[in-house]
Symmetry: C2
Subunit: 367 residues, 2 copies
Amino acid sequence: MSSTTGTRGESVTPANPAYDTVADPTDVTALLERGRALSAPVLRAAVDRLAPPMDTVAAYHFGWIDAQGRPAEGDGGKAVRPALALLSAEAAGAPAEAGIPGAVAVELVHNFSLLHDDLMDGDEQRRHRDTVWKVHGPAQAILVGDALFALANEVLLELGTVEAGRAARRLTTASRKLIDGQAQDISYEHRERVTVEECLEMEGNKTGALLACAVSIGAVLGGADDRTADTLEAYGYHLGLAFQAVDDLLGIWGDPESTGKQTWSDLRQRKKSLPVVAALAAGGPASERLGELLADDAKSSDFDSFSEEEFAARAALIEEAGGREWTAQEARRQHAVAIEALHGVDMPERVRAQLTELADFVVVRKR
Amino acid sequence: MSSTTGTRGESVTPANPAYDTVADPTDVTALLERGRALSAPVLRAAVDRLAPPMDTVAAYHFGWIDAQGRPAEGDGGKAVRPALALLSAEAAGAPAEAGIPGAVAVELVHNFSLLHDDLMDGDEQRRHRDTVWKVHGPAQAILVGDALFALANEVLLELGTVEAGRAARRLTTASRKLIDGQAQDISYEHRERVTVEECLEMEGNKTGALLACAVSIGAVLGGADDRTADTLEAYGYHLGLAFQAVDDLLGIWGDPESTGKQTWSDLRQRKKSLPVVAALAAGGPASERLGELLADDAKSSDFDSFSEEEFAARAALIEEAGGREWTAQEARRQHAVAIEALHGVDMPERVRAQLTELADFVVVRKR
């Protein structure tokens, strides 16, 4: 259906054009906007169910209000996951709308993990704003995270269908992997060496699993069989690894204006992200010098007061050792595997083209 | 089936007699032991699925190992919830075993909430041992709590049946109430006055909802309809309120040797528990004096170094104002409502008698 004419020829120009099928497969902005427009009201309605003060804390987290409770025009994130969940329903031949509860449930789980991870990691900023634990205290960050996690299951299970039960099971599996990934992430920060394989496994858990769920959950709700859902998950998992490789690049070399994070953000947090572990594994003088520096940093009591120049020196060594280029290649490699997986499922060609465009978007983004 | 002879006459004396139907309805100890014996191996197997170090942290929380990782003979709690979940299945005419995944899921949710609540409340002791956040740090308490919550849904949803989906939905509803109750509990600690009604609502959320779920989830897994499950929930909800009223009495006047908590535990934490709010609402000289003292305490910077005598004086005023007696009566009143609800469901008379005995046990316990 076009954006102005219905199947029977009458004008159906909707109040919000995003509610239509996105006909142009190259228009990623429209796809992301549709995901946001269709899922946002349902997400808000779900969050509104929370008892005070959790509803307010959650609204702050999502950027709907500011710290003083005034309405805000928040940066709700890139909305890749909701866009994927709607395309997922369409991949199974169902209308995009069938994927909405899945889109909302995945966003709730994603935001549950952000609330808890920011507290565990001591991150003070997210999306250009103070994190929830900074503004509302640790207890509210824990509590509202828990509430969003429960709400995610509620949104699915209250549908009361067999498909919803299958969708909830996939979401639970993905949530467990997300938690495994955070456990690995925390433990790696205290270790001197992490292998590239360990890092990829952690990133697959932390990012791949939920993206995989986003791109299968709509199909499951739309009646797809397990084989179709599994193949869509393979696309999502590798897309997630590509996404995370790009995130790791942005976590070191990203523009703080775009990312909303501090300069050298991941280095400040001693994250053993892909560029770091790849540089350490590469061998050679720059790799060895980096290894010595990071080993000293781990014992240093001044680490928290390091200057910009000290982090810049570490970033330069990572680049010199080849960690930056390896990670960029890894993003492209995972992107290619994701695209390849798309050919294992029968789906409308338009949807396949859109999933391909979304994958392209993920690897070239700047935030 | 008796404990020594099978239906076809051969000896079937099991290795663990707890695996049998508990024939004597007055034997609460055997009922609790059966709940523990049948659910513990499944609970352990579920927790074993957690990735390191979460499996170890969880094993410490459950009391299976000590802080050094050595096997321990832990105090796993009273195991009222597993006993209820198994009886719940029997109430629906199913074998007790049908309730096991429900018993395990409810225990996982209960322990998720303990891990997070202990951290939020700053509680340093639970079941005579240091709490997880004290031993393993706040991040592990958050993470392992999250993992147990996810695992609870996994244990149910992996059954893949329509009944399991319905059970998971009830568990999710109960979990949301549990979280609402913790939010209320936290907010009440910062308020000067809490009404008896607000306190009862909070306790219904924090304790009633999960006990209600325990006593309906086995029936749902055993194929009971919603009306039967709802009526069992009514029993469980009021049993939960009776349970909590007794807990509130033990939280002030309990013997630390039995409870594993500090003397005047709830007073030290400024908990607005039932005896406190009832005493404040009672009026009269003791009530007024108590109100003045607690208002001063809220502003006092020495509160953390108060002596035993200072807490004892507050406890005496609560008793003098009638808060202790009112709470004891409330436990008996909720107990009676719970028993009354049991008559709204058709169930084997033995099971009804056992649910009655369990309710009696809950209101006379010392820990």
